[in-house]
Structures are given as C-alpha cells and as structure tokens.
Symmetry: C2
Subunit: 478 residues, 2 copies
C-alpha cells in the first residue's frame, strides 16, 4: 500500500508568488507548456472555466445576446485602421507571415481582440435602424505576446468572451455598457464570491479606442488589485473608421454607437488568489467542479462502508457535482489533504460508527467545521451548507477588501501604505492625468477606478492640492 502525503505547498504568507504557482500545479488546474508564455488548462481547471461559461452565457442570452464566431486572423491593414487601437495592441501582436510554403503578401495578426474584424462585418450587415441593436458575443482564444507571463493572469494565449454590440443612439450604447458591467459584477460577486468596486477607468487607463471604459476591480489577498472585467463604450470611434452606418427612421444616414466587453480565464487566477490558503485552493460551490467529495473510512467492515458510500453517492448524484474517493492505495488522511488542496467545498465522511448511528460527517473547506448529519437529511443539509459556504466566502473576501481599503489624503502616507501594506487607497484626485502619472511613477500604484459610489464629497487632490470633486481608488495591480 502506497502511503504518500500531499506534497507541501509553499506558505502563502512566506512567498505569495510561489504559493500561487504551487497551488495551480499541485491542484492540477494548469501546467506549463513547451510554448513560450502559453499554459495548458488541465481538466480540473477547465471544468472551473466551463462552469463559469455556463453561468455567464445564461446571463448573456437572457439579456438578448447571441453567440457567433469571427476569424482568428486579422489582416494588418484592418488592425491598423483605428489609430489609438493599433497603438495599444501592436506591440504585443503575434504575426503570421507564411501559409504552407508561401510567404503572405500581407502579414496577418493573430487576434489580440476582435473589434476591427467584427466592425468590418458590421459595416456590411447593418443597413437600417431595424437591424439595431446588434447584440453579439464570442467565446474564443486571443493572443497577446507579453514579455513576462504568469499562469491565468497573463499568458500569451488566453480564453475569454468578448461582447460587441451596435446601437442606434449614444444613450442605448451607454445603457448596454453599464448593463454588461452590472452583469459582470453580479456574476463575479454571486458566483465567484469575489467582491468588487464598480467604476470608470481614467483616460490613461481606458481601452485603446474606447470613449469610456468601465471596470470592476477586485482585491487579491496579497493586497494587489485585479481588473476582473471591463465594459467599453466605444462611441463612434470605430463606426466612423469602419463606416458602419444605418438609415434611421428619420431618413438620415447615421453612424452606429458601439460597445465591447469581456472577461477572461484570468478570473480563475482571481479565485485562487482571493480564496486560497496554506492548504491550497478554496473553490466557491457555484463553480467548483466537485462540490462534495465522499471519503469512505473503512479500516474495518469495508464492504458495509463501501456499500453505504455507494448508496449515498447514488442518492446525491442528481443534485450535486460529487465524486467518490474509494481508492485503496491512499489513507483517509492523505485523501483529506488532497481534496482540501483541490478546494472541494465539502467532504462527506462515512465510517462504521457513522453507519451505526445512521449519520454521516460533513466537513467544510472554508471553516474546517465538522457537522454530524442524519442520513435522511443529507440532501437538504448539503444544499443549505453549500449556499452558506458560498455566502461565507464572499463575506470573508469582502471583509478583507474593506480592511485593506484606506482613505488617505497625504501623499507621504500614501507612499508608505502602498509600500508596506498595499490594498486600495481611496483618495481625492483632480482628474488631471499628470497627477495620476506622478503617483504611478512614484509608487507603482495605478488608478484602478473612479467609483460610481462617491460618498466622500469634494476635497483636494493628493498630488497637486487643487480642488478635487472625485474620490478614486489607487492600488498596485496584476
């Protein structure tokens, strides 16, 4: 009988970066590949993504969006049509120059994002106000040739969804932009248990080619911020360059107003970094590939225990994503560690004594609490317990974010806090990009967002001291 123990994960407080990579590799979420900057998403990690896709896709469809698929490749001339856009993306484009044995007449970009290719089609499809709005989403891979990469957070290739919509009026486009941001907030907070700040990006930080970018910003447990989703009001920037016009009801030819919005597999990184601990991963029940792991404890009366475990498995199968670990070659202790490391929300133990008492033991991953449950009540108890864990994980993360959000109006203190404690710094800002850049140069912190919720009233800019009507969030970020 083999009897290994789960190999140690680096302590989170000791070396957060190494801990992050250890968790990913040991929980088998992903692995490094032979291709520079590209990772393999392993079945356990991909199952998390599939659960996320299902929950998000249902929200898109219930708000009238349809999925489509546009080409991976974008001719260089097309990518370069919108000036700001190409400036933002050109430095990190992967270029295809040869097809088979032939050199191509024009270089082709592997899509870093799809605004340009989609706009070229919209210009063909949209003719009349009756064609609007166009509400299309695409699930796909994109490539950005980044210098330094990190699994899930920043990889040369990643998976995402990108919504691209076209509207009749500026108001319609703004409404869509904010609607999708709210869908992201709801998804990320409800299903991933990640609390976020909702707001607008500054001019310096907005998407290349957008009129306005909105964002949800999350706080990782090392005090660094992570942009969890963005929604862009593109205005008419692209529709003018790509000539996307429609005949309005009033007989006038007008340019459409557009939006785009996306979230990616980097959200898996956010889940790991927000919820994980020294034992490993901690997955929110709503997206956990395995919500309940059944571990039979059978040093004696083995057949009886395995039969009972199988009976319980069969009974719960319909309602939960569950697995049974009845492997002979590992001890129960090893299995406990293993499944805790994989972040499974609830462990269900059943042994000879439990069977005598007609009960099972449920163990919570989030708190470690052990609960005896009567056999007849497993189903309903599990249901409420998973809900409770989901809510508790959000609450814990929210408390952490609140505790690491500091209102600071003095620049020296700002520097010290960013250096020593990180977290969000809420401060007044005069809306001048130079003050924002100064902070970035001096501290490495960037302006994460101008929150919708403005509760502090006017004050003075932390850099220049001028009157400032806005309170904003700064942080170091991923």
């Amino acid at each position: 009988m083999e009897n290994e123990y789960v190999k140690e994960i680096t302590s989170k407080s000791q070396d957060f970066s190494q801990w992050y990579v250890d968790v990913i590799l040991k929980a088998e979420l992903a692995d490094y590949s032979p291709v520079r900057g590209c990772m393999v998403i392993r079945p356990y990690g991909y199952a998390v993504w599939e659960n996320m896709q299902k929950l998000l896709d249902a929200r898109f469809k219930s708000t009238g969006h349809k999925n489509a698929y546009f080409p991976l490749f974008i001719p260089e001339s097309l990518l370069k049509k919108e000036a700001e856009h190409v400036e933002g993306f050109a430095p990190e484009v992967a270029w295809v120059t040869h097809g088979g044995q032939e050199e191509l007449a024009e270089r082709i970009a592997v899509r870093p994002t799809s605004e340009t290719i989609i706009c070229s089609m919209y210009s063909k499809w949209i003719k009349s106000w009756r064609d609007l709005p166009v509400l299309i989403n695409q699930w796909c891979n994109v490539v950005r040739w980044e210098k330094s990469t990190r699994p899930f957070l920043r990889t040369a290739e990643f998976l995402w969804q990108e919504g691209h919509t076209a509207h009749r009026t500026e108001e319609d486009a703004e409404e869509e932009t904010l609607k999708m941001l709210e869908i992201y907030r709801d998804f990320v907070e409800t299903d991933l248990a990640l609390p976020v700040i909702k707001g607008r990006k500054s001019e310096n930080e907005k998407f290349a080619g957008a009129l306005r970018t909105y964002t949800i910003e999350a706080m990782m447990s090392d005090g660094k911020a992570l942009q969890a989703g963005t929604s862009h009001n593109l205005g008419q920037h692209f529709s003018k360059v790509f000539d996307i016009t429609f005949l309005d009801q009033d007989g006038q030819l007008k340019n459409v107003w557009q939006t785009s919005w996306g979230v990616s597999t980097r959200l898996i990184g956010a889940i790991i970094m927000t919820h994980g601990d020294d034992r490993g991963l901690k997955l929110p029940p709503k997206i956990a590939p395995v919500q309940v792991i059944i571990v039979p404890i059978s040093s004696q009366k083995k057949d009886m225990v395995l039969n009972k475990a199988a009976e319980i498995f069969a009974r719960l199968k319909q309602d939960f994503r569950l697995e049974m670990d009845d492997r002979d070659e590992y001890t129960p202790g090893w299995k406990f560690n293993e499944w805790e490391m994989k972040g499974v929300p609830v462990r269900l133990e059943v042994g000879p004594k439990d069977i005598e008492k007609h009960q099972v033991i449920l163990v919570r991953r989030d708190t470690g609490e052990k609960i005896s449950v009567d056999e007849s009540e497993i189903n309903s108890k599990l249901k409420s317990l998973l809900d409770e864990i989901q809510v508790n994980m959000f609450r814990q993360a929210k408390r952490f974010m609140d505790e690491n959000t500091r209102e600071i109006e003095d620049f020296e203190e700002f520097k010290k806090v960013i250096e020593e404690k990180r977290g969000f710094i809420k401060t007044h800002w005069c809306e001048n990009g130079d003050c924002e850049k100064f902070i970035k140069e001096q501290t490495g912190a960037t302006l994460r967002c101008i929150p919708f919720e403005q509760d502090a009233g006017p004050g003075r800019c932390i850099v220049c001291g001028k009157e400032a009507n806005k309170v904003v969030y700064f942080a170091k970020s991923y």
Copy 2:
C-alpha cells in the same frame, strides 16, 4: 409598409454549388470575411453548432471524458517529431514568425491538429498504470492553410473537437477508437439525421501518423461523399517518439497506446447539403435553433390575434426553442418563405378563424403538410410532430443514400457511373494500394471506407482481377 419577398435561391438541381452558397448566405448561417479562406459563423449558424456541441459533449462526458485546453501554438521542432505526421500537415501550416517587434528564434505553427503538443504533456503527466486511461477532449479552433476553400466544408480556420486518449494496452486503445466512432455514428444519425457508412480507411487514406483510421461517411444530395467523423488508433507511433511511458503493474516500463478522434463545423455543411431543397435550409429539430416559428395572421382583429399568439408563445416557451414573428413590415407570405428558407421545422399559424375554432395550424417544413390542432393539444402534438420530422428526415436521407449506392464489378461501368450519376460504388478490391490509386487517377473517386459490414462474400478486384476478400465504397467526395 415594406413588402419585399425573400430573394431567390439558385435552384439546387441547376447549380448545386451556387445553391449551397446562396443558402448559407441568405439563411445567415455564415458570411465571407476579409481574411483569405476564413468565414464568419453568424449567430444562426453558431446556434446550430452550440446545439451540436451540447449533444456531443454530453455523450463524451457520460463515457468518462473530460475537457481541457492546450495551446494554439506548436513550436516547429515539436510538430516535426513524428515523421508521417509532419509530412501530412506541413504543407498547410500557418506560421507565426514575429511576436510584437521581435523575430522569433523558432517558427511557431498555428495548430492544424494537437497530437504533438498534447503528447508532449502526456509524457510529463503519465507515470504509472494508475494514471491510465487518460481521456481528454478539447473544443477549439484549428488552422489549415488550404488552397481552395468553401464555407463550412473547407476553410483556413475551423472549429472542432479533438479527443486524445492514452491507454495501457493495444486492446484498450482499439476499444476506445471504436467506441468513439460509434458515438459519432449515433450522434450524426440520431441528432443530425444523416445516415452514414461505418468502416475503416485504407492505408492511403488514413490519418498522418495513425495505425488505423476509422470513419463514418455520409452521402450529400449531389451524390458526393463527405467524411463526417474519424477516429484514429494511433498505436504507439506517437508514444515512442514523445517518450510517453508508464510503469505497469508487472514492474515493466511500457509505452502507452493512443487514440484521437474529431468532428468539426463541416458537419453543418453536411446538414445543409443532405437536407436542403430549393426553398432553402431544412434543419433537423434536434439541432434547429428555432424549432417552431409562430406567425400571427392578423389582417383583421389584430389585437385579439396578437394576444392569442403571445399566450401560445408563453405556454410553449418552456418546452421548445421557439420564436414569434410579429413584425408589422412583412406580410405573412413573406414570413412563410423566410422561415422556410431558414429551415425551421414547424410553422405555427394563428388567425381570427383559428381562434374561433379554438385551433392553430401547424405546417411541416419537411413535407409541407398542414395540420389543424386543437389548442389544448398543441404541446403534445408539437412534441410528437418534431420527433416525427426528425425520423422522417433521416428516412428520406437514408433512402437517397441507398438509391445512390450501386454494386458494380466492371471498371468501365464504374467510370460511367462516377461520371454520370456519382453516389457510392460498392465493389471488390484486392487491398493493394496501387489498384486504389489507379481508380483515383482514372475517375477522381477515392476509397471512402472498408465497411465493417461485409455482406458480399469474396470476389475479384475491379482493377487487377485478383482475388479480393473485401467489398469497399468508392465515391467522389468533399
């Protein structure tokens, strides 16, 4: 009030090729893109693909397979490791040579298929017999730089799934290969209503790097064959080159046995070409994005009719994929043409007279039959009608295939039939690759498969006249 009619589709019998493209463009399944050989899959076409994915993915998962995601990019050295494989794919690879401003030290292939990148990971992951079998599938895009392209059938980029499994023994790999072929047959026949011939590919036609390739072959309504899915027993070809070994229970280090299998968006092309007619598309109910279209007929008593239609819509919404066409700007006649062209299996009409009689009219797309149904029975009648349409579409296609399958033992007759009638030709073959090549050169027909079902007994090879134990299928193909 605008009152256009659906624009004409080229007649199928007159110009099959043009008819095919007309249907795709007019039904808005797909569109040409500004990128050479790449198409855009529009929402209506993508919804067909999503329905197909759901049905197929459920079959994969219920047989123990898990999804994962491997990189889009494959370093040239990796792609070139298995000799036959690279020979088969190198001529149609798109090459990335630059990342951002930098020229890459090694060219990178955009995956034409993922055996090599996946094998490089399996060699790292697989250590012991306990790790086997590995049963992984991937849904993704692949690129093959084809000279001449055709929407859905042959495009530079296409979407597919590729399964890649590793096993302990040759028998296990062969069992998996045949199991997946049977899953494809069941999916394609049951859900897409496409009858197929199941069999093995000849040595000349097998997958580059495989030991044996199995296939299901369908018959399009112009008499050309289409390879609808393939399943490969890779033997130990890749595991030896990529050093994928495991310690077996007997203490010996052994190479794994592998399989791979895939179907792609070309199946959408097969659906169009098998079922469509001069009115346009005809979609099997199981994968139709809209199964039922409600058309209110409201020249008089408009409010009453629209209310009744809305009431029926609400009642059916749970059980069917349905839409309501209550647009004012089109006549009922225009709408009938439009939705027939889009291949919706059933039209539900409701007008003032129907309401008086407490009934609705159902119109079948497959036969044109009109059926009056009592309002109280719409739900159950629709259910059975959709089932009936599904079965009838399969039956019609099967009859066509059978009528276009001819047993021929004389080569002159073979040439004449291929030239004038096409279809499948069933004939004896001596299993010599030269005879197979001779037929291809002389007639353009290829050996589609060596069917599992061998009902004809021995005979003489149609080319060389030598003894032949196998009857095989030849056809011109897509």
